[in-house]
């Protein structure tokens, strides 16, 4: 099933006799065993107005096509979506619909917001084969319920996205990264939180582990500042004053090196090809040392401590570690056995499960879409 137009997609869904796995580029590791509904040919940018900061594209449009169109106008997707191919070893071409369906957001989320915060409108086909629209292409819209947010991060379980509208932002003139070597968890947490609580618009606050636990390599705690050159230099100066007692070891101005640091954080590059399961923990940033300190495992920390990627041996249930800490843990990379044993997402409160099931049953009454995902 490879629809090339929304009407064809609707017809296919209306005629389904059993479940399907919705596939964009198939890079996010969530493709189920049901027959594939391949969205890659439902593609094309329908509208791009740089002066209004808006882009509308068919859901199957490749992320590369979207990014290159934006790049030509000096703009970008500010939420910096992760490329899961690095961590999961998947192949294929990520699509904009896949980014939205999984609400994929990268390091800049701490300042700019998540994918869902940039999503202005959606068109999707529900489980009956009806085309539904919600939101639109304007930045402020409170007309009716916000199903746009609901669709973002629903992993295709409520409908098949056919079109998405996004708010885009200008690319900054330059970026600089401040690097501290070898900070422990508590020190790293202090640096990240202090930077984020400053008025200097930090667009990345992360910690990369030492390379392969090599004694000569040190962990890197990193802070990113972006914008017009004069402004970036000014803010770096002010941050150096703020951290007078804990000076950074390096100031990275080279754009390639900056790109390397932040793509490593975004794509969790240190865990590429490493043996073990990869877990993703979302907590209150200051709770980060409590989580990372519990285990001797390797961690990549992002969002100022609010996001912790952990490389753990197979068979270990990281959710047990969370104990009384508020937050949640998803399993992102694992063997089939461990996915079955632990589940991809953390079980939720009973009432929330009831609500989620109720919504899903109404959007997709016959359970056609991505069965098994999201409970």
């Amino acid at each position: 099933m490879i629809p090339e137009a929304e009407t064809e997609l609707a017809r296919i869904v209306a005629g389904l006799n059993g479940p399907v796995s919705i596939v964009g580029g198939g890079t996010r590791g969530a493709t189920g065993s049901a027959p594939a509904l391949d969205m890659s040919r439902l593609s094309g940018i329908h509208l791009y107005e740089p002066g209004a900061l808006t882009l509308v594209a068919a859901a199957g449009t490749s992320l590369a096509e979207v990014e290159s169109a934006l790049d030509a106008e000096g703009q970008r997707l500010a939420f910096e979506p992760m490329d899961h191919r690095v961590l999961l070893g998947t192949r294929g071409e990520p699509t904009i619909g896949g980014v939205v369906a999984a609400n994929v957001s990268g390091p800049r989320r701490v300042q700019a917001g998540a994918c869902r915060d940039f999503l202005l409108g959606v068109r999707f086909v529900d489980g009956r084969g009806t085309v539904i629209k919600n939101g639109g292409r304007v930045m402020k819209n409170v007309t009716g319920y916000d199903l746009v947010k609901l669709m973002a991060g629903s992993w295709g379980t409520l409908g098949v996205l056919s079109e998405v509208s996004l708010k885009v932002l200008p690319k900054p003139e330059m970026g600089i990264t401040l690097v501290w070597h070898g900070c422990g968890w508590t020190a790293a947490s202090k640096v990240l939180c202090a930077a984020l609580a400053s008025p200097f618009e930090i667009t990345g606050a992360a910690r990369l582990p030492q390379r392969n636990r090599s004694p000569t390599s040190k962990s890197k705690t990193v802070i990113r500042i972006e914008g017009f050159e004069d402004s970036v230099k000014y803010r770096v100066g002010r941050l150096l004053e703020l951290f007078a007692d804990l000076k950074p070891d390096r100031i990275v101005t080279d754009s390639d090196e900056n790109e390397a640091i932040w793509s490593a954080v975004r794509d969790v590059t240190p865990f590429r090809n490493a043996v073990g399961n990869v877990w993703k923990t979302s907590v209150k940033p200051t709770d980060m040392p409590l989580v990372t300190g519990k285990w001797e495992f390797e961690h990549v920390v992002d969002w100022g401590g609010g996001l912790i990627w952990t490389l753990a041996p197979e068979g270990v249930d990281l959710r047990l570690a969370l104990g009384g800490i508020q937050g949640h843990v998803s399993l992102v990379r694992a063997s089939r056995d461990d996915f079955e044993r632990f589940g991809r997402f953390q079980p939720q409160d009973e009432t929330l499960i009831r609500i989620a099931h109720g919504i899903r049953a109404r959007f997709d009454p016959q359970g056609r879409f991505n069965p098994g995902l999201m409970g």
Binding site: V138, V142, Q348
Partner: protein
């Protein structure tokens, strides 16, 4: 605007309901005498009024839960109310309803600067959230113009915006978690201080659901450190289209101003006469404000001025001091008051793609002549959120109806231009019957299906958001 007829069976059972509510609320939290319920007969959409059967003012999540459970069991509709500042009639009662006001729940529960969050009870006013973190240099970003009075509960219900959302986003972008009571009394916690709530983004759909899915009693909000400074520039043009092009060029240049406000001739003159802000005599006025350190502000304003000069402005005034900044903003901030001096007015808030600005303003001008009612336009140009103010005389027979018809035409125009009916005020009752112009019945059916899950009996704020005809079956079931 039609509201459903009250259910006589519910009215008959008022004594029984009161008796049950007395078991869970202190006397002073239960208002049922007509002389007192009248205080809750309307919100800021004052053209429509109806005292509720009962008003309750619970002081805790537990009391809210008890009240909702009882109303649920008695089958009584409940209309949640923050501070009653809705311009869309979001808190308008019906004769057979219970108004549930959250005004007594206004405590700050937690401030956490390291994690940049504040947790408050939902009756707290918007401005006093910022007030609570001001001494440490922080603020809460969404700033609706009613921020002195409006409650966080209402901000969440309507997904409120403000002048500064071009940079900081609206309520939904600054809300991290809620404690919410469902119609059957069940209390749920969604989200919190961590960034991802897990599971479906229920927080996203609750925000902006106009009090139809649950009553939010506590909220975790993101706070930000204030920028070091801010400064506006005032730019006057002889042509609306040129002003619109200038807005677009500023945005395209890579600068993200914190606000871009637009006023047209009628508004400029009204504000000038009212506030004497020293505005030039011209067709269109932009106020563009940028933030940061002195050096950053200088840099950004220089770029903006360079862009503006390319469009031959009739006036270009960069603020050189705090007094001059205040003067530039003075007229804009008194715009609604100034228009109110001219006559009664109705304020709309449709949003359009910025590129359609010249066409929409021209059409509004033409329609203004056809209807014989003047319109002033003042709005957030950076994000296309219009605020046409239609002037009319409430004491003149038929003028309100004419004004409403004109307003509906303007909103249809916004939708046809690729925009929407409401950018930040919400649908309420005001735009309820226009919903089918923006969405088809299947789109609305899908939205209503979400309410079915949260509130299967349709008891929470039932006659709002959706056209009465579309929701009739569900409300009477």
């Amino acid at each position: 605007m039609e509201m459903p007829a009250p259910d006589p069976k519910i009215l008959e059972r008022k004594p029984q309901l009161l008796a049950r509510l007395r078991t869970v609320l202190p006397d002073d939290a239960l208002i049922h005498d007509i002389s007192e319920t009248r205080a809750y007969e309307c919100d800021a959409l004052t053209a429509y009024r109806c005292p509720p059967m009962v008003a309750v003012l619970p002081a805790s999540t537990q009391e809210v839960s008890d009240v909702l459970r009882i109303c649920h069991e008695e089958g009584v509709p409940v209309v949640p109310r923050g501070s009653g500042t809705s311009l869309a009639g979001g808190a308008l009662p019906t004769e057979d309803s219970v108004i549930l006001g959250v005004a007594r729940m206004n405590d700050v529960l937690e401030t956490d600067y390291d994690n940049r969050i504040i947790r408050v009870q939902s009756g707290r006013t918007n401005l006093s959230v910022s007030g609570a973190v001001e001494e440490r240099g922080f603020f809460y970003a969404p700033d609706p113009s009613s921020q002195l009075a409006c409650a966080i509960a209402g901000n969440i219900a309507m997904n409120s915006g403000g002048a500064h959302c071009l940079k900081y986003g609206v309520t939904t972008n600054n809300l991290l978690g809620v404690t919410m009571v469902m119609m059957d009394g069940t209390v749920v916690e969604i989200g919190g201080a961590h960034l991802d709530a897990g599971g479906l983004d229920l927080l996203g759909v609750i925000c902006g659901s106009e009090g139809q899915l649950g009553v939010v009693t506590e909220a975790t909000l993101r706070i930000l450190h204030k920028p070091e400074g801010a400064r506006p520039v005032l730019i006057g043009f002889d042509d609306n289209a040129v002003a619109g092009q200038c807005v677009s060029d500023i945005i395209k240049s890579g600068i993200l101003p914190v606000a871009i406000e637009f006023m047209d001739r009628l508004c400029i003159q009204a504000c000038e006469n009212f506030a004497h802000a020293g505005y030039p005599d011209c067709e269109a006025l932009l106020i563009v404000e940028v933030e940061g350190s002195q050096a950053e502000i200088d840099h950004q304003l220089a770029k903006i001025i360079e862009i503006a000069r390319r469009h031959n402005p009739v006036e270009l005034r960069e603020s050189g001091s705090a007094e001059e900044s205040a003067k530039i903003w003075l007229g804009r901030k008194s715009a609604f008051g100034a228009m109110g001096q001219l006559n009664d007015y109705m304020c709309l808030d449709g949003t359009i793609p910025v590129s359609e600005l010249p066409m929409v303003l021209r059409r509004i001008g033409e329609m203004s002549k056809e209807y014989g009612l003047p319109v002033g336009n003042v709005f957030h140009a950076g994000d296309g959120n219009m605020h046409p103010l239609i002037l009319f005389d409430a004491n003149k027979q038929g003028d309100l109806e004419k004004c409403e018809a004109f307003g509906a035409d303007i909103l249809r125009l916004c939708v046809d231009a690729g925009g929407c009916l409401t950018g930040e005020h919400g649908v309420g009752i005001e735009k309820r019957d226009l919903m089918l112009h923006q969405y088809n019945s299947e789109d609305l059916e899908t939205q209503m299906a979400v309410k079915d899950v949260f509130d299967p009996q349709w008891l929470l704020n039932p006659a709002k958001v959706f056209p009465l005809g579309s929701s009739a079956q569900r409300r009477s079931a």
